[in-house]
């Protein structure tokens, strides 16, 4: 397991991701999310850990390179490193150690508990959207297929959006919703686990 990343290389990577530290941090998380997805589609074991390993290596290398690194966006370099990390992961014996809390998301629990937690999390996260966005998401997903399709073309018309723009808007809203629900379920799962212990 690689040593945890010290702050200097991480700062070097953040600097490469943008002058505004907060925006760079956001870009870091997005880059990580994209790496996780690619590793998942490649069926690499432990995609989240591999994404962290990739970014750790990139950060260390950027720090070593200093001003030698050419270019303002290190994403292409990140992809090159990710490719190596993925290849190495397949050469390693399977069953690498799991990151903290990983099993909390996957350990079997009764289905009813899962659904109850998810339902309440969904309710909670829908309330965190603006009333208009919440209504839009619910309208978009309402009804059986034919009614939904009819409703959506009407929704797009009423909102003055093209069908593609509506799809995109819904995708962005549901992505936010999903992040919120996943975070909430993890916390709910922990709470439930503690309550049962």
């Amino acid at each position: 397991m690689p040593e945890p990343l010290r702050s200097e290389p991480f700062e070097a990577l953040l600097l490469r991701l943008g002058p505004d530290r907060e925006a760079a941090g956001e870009r870091y998380l997005q880059l990580r999310q994209r790496l996780v997805a690619v590793f998942e589609y490649r069926r690499c074991p432990l995609p989240e850990e591999l994404a962290d390993e990739t970014l750790d290596r990139v950060a260390r290398r950027l720090q070593e390179m200093g001003s030698e690194f050419v270019g303002s966006d290190p994403a292409r370099y990140v992809f090159g490193v990710a490719w190596n990390v993925a290849r190495e992961s397949f050469r390693r014996p399977t069953g690498a150690p799991l990151p903290d809390g990983w099993e909390g998301r996957l350990v079997a629990r009764p289905a009813a508990d899962d659904e109850g937690v998810e339902e309440s999390c969904l309710e909670h996260c829908l309330e965190r959207l603006s009333p208009a966005d919440k209504q839009l998401v619910l309208d978009y997903h309402q009804g059986e297929r034919s009614a939904r399709i009819r409703g959506r073309s009407g929704l797009a018309r009423d909102l003055g959006l093209t069908p593609n723009a509506l799809r995109l808007k819904i995708h962005r809203l549901t992505s936010r919703l999903r992040e919120c629900v996943l975070g909430c379920v993890e916390q709910g799962g922990l709470v439930a686990a503690r309550a049962h212990s």
Partner: protein, 323 residues
């Protein structure tokens, strides 16, 4: 409502490629090229999310073709996080449709806006108006040839013709589309039920394969003294949780090293936190079973001080056997 920032990558061509990517249909070169775009171009990654949403929707509707459905299950749902996404989409639909019957609740609850008017209802209404209009024209142009269709006074008052004629015609006009719509709705519900049953089966399969097994290990159990703790790892376990019991929680974090019988390091983990559970202080390690074939092992646990120094806390010996 403001138009969202457009995504210039969301084109039919890229969507088709992404669809093949999700369903495992791209050759290696195309796949690698697309993966690079996914990492380097946020718009391409976002387009992937949109395509994934649509495939989830098709799957939940039961409208995917049989090969697409199989490919979706094999390539997309194989990831627990993506299965969670499928489940969330299902919950969202249930939530959105909660308490409604055939048509969206807003159709009944709110002033119906044009967007929720079902097409068949509009067609039926149009047909009624058209029939009424035709009858009015007939009555205007050929009043003497069609006296029996309406009361004599109605012929002179075209607007009165429709109410006299419309009920039976309207019923006929409405009932056929209503029946068709009901049949279609029934079909869609059946397809959805089948799709939901498949999702439930996938979830159950994942639950079975994601089972974990936990063991609490006490410090100082030495194999030499014949007291090594014995753990039996079931063949279908995905995770083995080793829970190391501590006398106290004196460090902000811990480091554990797993050694085999020959003293070789097999695994190490740092930044481990101790948790109190039922009055016991435990540090959890999670390992996949193939890390632990039959044999004798030792975990050495160190406490990490705030300055980063490691101090020995204890060692935990155990023997792994298989059922």
């Amino acid at each position: 409502m403001a138009d969202p920032d457009p995504n210039p990558r969301l084109t039919p061509e890229l969507e088709a490629t992404l669809r093949r990517f999700v369903l495992g249909g791209l050759d290696e070169a195309a796949r690698a090229a697309l993966e690079e775009q996914l990492v380097t171009d946020p718009d391409v990654f976002e387009a992937l999310g949109v395509v994934e949403d649509e495939l989830i929707e098709e799957y939940l509707d039961g409208t995917s073709s049989s090969p697409d459905r199989a490919a979706f299950e094999q390539h997309f749902v194989s990831s627990p996080l993506r299965l969670a996404r499928l489940r969330l989409a299902k919950s969202l639909r249930r939530h959105a449709s909660h308490g409604m019957s055939a048509e969206p609740a807003r159709l009944q609850a709110k002033q119906p806006s044009s967007r929720w008017q079902p097409t068949w209802l509009a067609l039926a209404a149009g047909l009624i108006l058209s029939l009424a209009g035709n009858l009015w024209l007939v009555s205007r142009l050929q009043p003497q040839q069609a006296p029996s269709l309406s009361a004599p006074s109605a012929a002179a008052h075209p607007t009165d013709v429709a109410p006299t004629v419309a009920p039976s015609l309207a019923r006929a006009a409405v009932e056929t589309p209503t029946m068709q719509a009901a049949e279609q709705l029934q079909r869609e519900r059946e397809e959805r039920s089948k799709a939901e049953a498949r999702v439930a089966a996938l979830e159950e399969a994942l639950r079975r394969t994601r089972s974990s097994v936990s063991f609490v290990l006490a410090a100082g159990a030495l194999r030499a003294a014949g007291s090594a703790q014995r753990i039996v790892v079931p063949s279908d376990a995905l995770l083995v949780r080793l829970r190391l019991e501590l006398p106290g929680n004196d460090y902000p974090s811990y480091r554990a090293i797993l050694l085999n019988d020959a003293g070789e390091e097999l695994w190490s983990g740092s930044k481990l936190k101790a948790e109190t559970e039922s009055g016991r202080i435990l540090v959890d390690l999670a390992l996949t079973p193939d890390r632990l074939p039959r044999g004798d092992y030792q975990v050495k646990l160190s406490g990490l001080t705030a300055a980063g120094d490691a101090e020995a806390v204890g060692s935990y010996s155990f023997r792994v056997s298989r059922p």
